[in-house]
Amino acid sequence: MKVVKTKVGFEGVYKDEYAFVEGEMLPAWSKQSALSVVGKPVARLEAKQKVTGTAKYTHDVYLPGMLYGRFLRSPYAHAKVKRIDVSKATAIPGVLAVFTRDNADSLPFDFAREFFSNEVMYQGEEVAFVASVDEEVLDDALEAIEVEYEELKPIVDPEESLKDGSIRLNEEGNLSGGEPKVYQRGDIEEGFRKAEITIERIFKTQAALHNSLETHGSVVAWEGDNLIVYTSTQSVFGVREGLASVLGIPADSVRVVSAYMGGGFGSKFGPGRYTIFAAAVARELGRPVRVILDRTEENLVTGNRSQTVQRIKIGAMKDGTLVAIHHRAIINVGIDGWVTDPGAPSKMLYRCPNVRTELYGVRTNLVSSTAFRAPGMVEGTFALESAIDELAYALGMDPLKLRKTNYTETDQATGLPYSSKGLRDAYEVGARLIGWKYPQNVERCGTIVRAKGVASAIWYFGGGPPAYAEVKLTRNGRLSVITSTQDIGTGTRTALAQIAAEEFGLDITDVLVSLGDTSHELYSPGSGGSGTLASIGPAVREAAYNAKLQTFEVVSQLRDVPKDDLEIRAGTIFRRKSGERVLSLRELTDILGDFSISGKGARGPNTADYFSNSFAAQFAEVEVDVDTGEVRVLRFVSVHDSGLVINPLTFSSQVEGGVIQGIGYALSEGRLVDRSSGTVINPNLNDYLVPRISDIQEIISSYVEPADPHVDNLGVKGIGEPPIIGVAPALANAIRAATGVRLHNLPFTPERVYLALKGREEEEKKWAYY
């Protein structure tokens, strides 16, 4: 066995990980491999549990003796907490405890002393916690707590927050990290001097809320000194690490379970303050504690896609060749969120020698921002791909041709060749599916105008070690795949079953998959960065391969046949050369009894010689009613290079879902904040408008599958995030083609489109903003 160091990326952040290499690595699958289960549309393994209501989500966990817990939260975006009186609440029968800053230090963990603060910095920050025997009592108790606040002026606009003389929200100041994050290659001054044409625009994007249908929540219970946590998460190990470090207990004393989870989209990685506090209260009271956020809390305190203000300048030659890009972004990170990278597409998407990006992460009196499906890339690609479209108009050039003109075969930052890139084919397939023509036939009928738009997308490769799997032959001759990864609705269970079935040689109906439980101690990374399949999938294949070798070894000794002459087809073992049937797996396990055959697998290292990315070409056909400003997406075509597609059925579901979230982001979604009070106006699903079924017309998903022998032993790259990336710019570009008007500010609500068509884009309500 060899231990090697390898680079693993997560959404553009790279670190070194160790990987074990044992023996020869399996050569990657490709379209040319003779595959019988992989590449076929297979219904979800757990679909029956989901359609019968028997799938148990975190919300469905009700433990014996469990208490209900909930926070009282600040209604103000910025205020001093002057006085808290809990006496009326504690007097209610059934209230077991009320914790505030005045008594949290009685909890048996150090973190609790500083959990509540004297000055709340965003609407929804915790002020008190109640634990009670049922939820009706909980409501009564929360209402009975009296809090006296002194309101302070909130800062919610990041541009105001950056100004001199603004209130400081943090010791460091209001600029996260104290200085802008700058990336530079080449010389943009030189590039712009050389440019024959330049485009400069300002684009604004809104804060978008995940609104996973299962709100954040946990049910926690102590067994002795061991903590069991049922939680809705994208990362069982992330929750375990987070809890262990805050509570100061060993990570292997914490078991995190998330068998089924109702959506995350980037918002569910760490334990969350609710889980940490629930664990402390459960320890103190000696009872399990359940904390499930309600929909309003979900909208106020679980984070959001960052609001941004971006200024982008592009310089090009008359033939369309890009010579310089300068991309600056102000990113509203809330009180202490994460600075995403909207500059990423400017660095990565096209061949361009001179690029500079500047990121200003700015603090405000809003909840900390968090990851949301392709964070940064979605916001930045809206700006870049809208500007590229404007460049095409300025050049009098087909926008699709302009994109192909600046096609690159190498990663622009490192100079490394791509491990595979099928974007050129994706452009061709997409253009055919949407019926792309240049110049366009813009169709008009009364007040309705129809046209098409295009955008490209690039996304990071998220696969890598460490990720481990075990595959066992069960007592019934079936295959049990054991991992500790998560299935967050993407179809991970099903894809892993397909991989194991393919490698081992049996029907997918004979594969069981377990996941979402840290107690196996088979580490898997969190389900994010579109890296789940490319991380755990190769480990599962290797484990199935090793289980197969062990099976051959056993059969060879039992039946006195050479092990190299054995193969397994549809659950039966044959002699390879003669085709003679040896025995079925069921017959084998009947002979073996409870003797167990198993194989282990680990994700191998990433290549150092190539750079990996996934790509997409996205096309929209829209209809704009110029009298009302209403936009309808008639058709959306999304063509992906995500490497090999394991399951075309669930793959298309991922694409459709991403496109639909992109349509919501582009047309209707946005957190509205009242400028003077800093409070959120629409923290619910009545006023925050996610797409509904009637908003969705035709979505055509397709893929190209370039062989990728370098990326992992499956040849897969990832599909979770790419489908959302180019949706907003494709719609913006289609609207531009239809109406002649460039929209700069997301979302394109009817009000905004109407005003923009009248040349009054800046004239919108001033009292609130997205």
Partner: protein, 158 residues
């Protein structure tokens, strides 16, 4: 002092007699008193449709229905839709078409679809969209939900 009032109702063909806090919704009663966790609490405000069940043969948002208002009523939840492991054609169509991702909204979607097909056995795509508009799917399984309901309408007997 809190008061608990009696209510007697039928759920999935079984009768129950309980004492409840008058504020208790049908959703809470199903999930906490009866252990039927198929109906989900997505918003508790009647916006998302994840809690959809049937009361006397018509869909109801169980989060907006007080348990006490159900005296003598018949409630059907997703758990009551399949019998002895045999699935309803709507459930089968959802599986075949992959009309679900995380699955959290699925029980509500299925109950809405089931009711639609009882009042309109062969709906047009536009009718399906209009009727299913109260059920949010944040994962965006809509194209496949549309396909599943449409496919199931072929198999449902009038």
């Amino acid at each position: 002092m809190r008061k608990f009032l009696p209510v007697r109702l039928n759920v999935n063909g079984r009768s129950y007699s309980l004492f409840v806090d008058p504020r208790t919704t049908l959703l809470e009663l199903l999930r906490k008193d009866l252990g039927l966790t198929g109906a989900k609490k997505g918003c508790d405000l009647g916006n998302c449709g994840a809690c959809t069940v049937m009361v006397d043969g018509r869909t109801r948002l169980s989060c907006l229905t007080l348990a006490l208002s159900l005296e003598g009523k018949d409630v059907l939840t997703v758990e009551g839709l399949s019998k002895g492991g045999r699935l309803d054609p709507v459930q089968e169509a959802f599986i075949r078409n992959d009309a679900l991702q995380c699955g959290f909204c699925t029980p509500g979607q299925i109950m809405s679809a089931k009711f639609l097909l009882t009042i309109n056995p062969h709906p047009s795509l536009a009718e399906i969209k209009r009727f299913m508009n109260g059920n949010i799917c944040r994962c965006g399984a809509y194209p496949k939900i549309l396909a599943a309901v449409s496919e199931a309408s072929g198999g449902v007997q009038v």
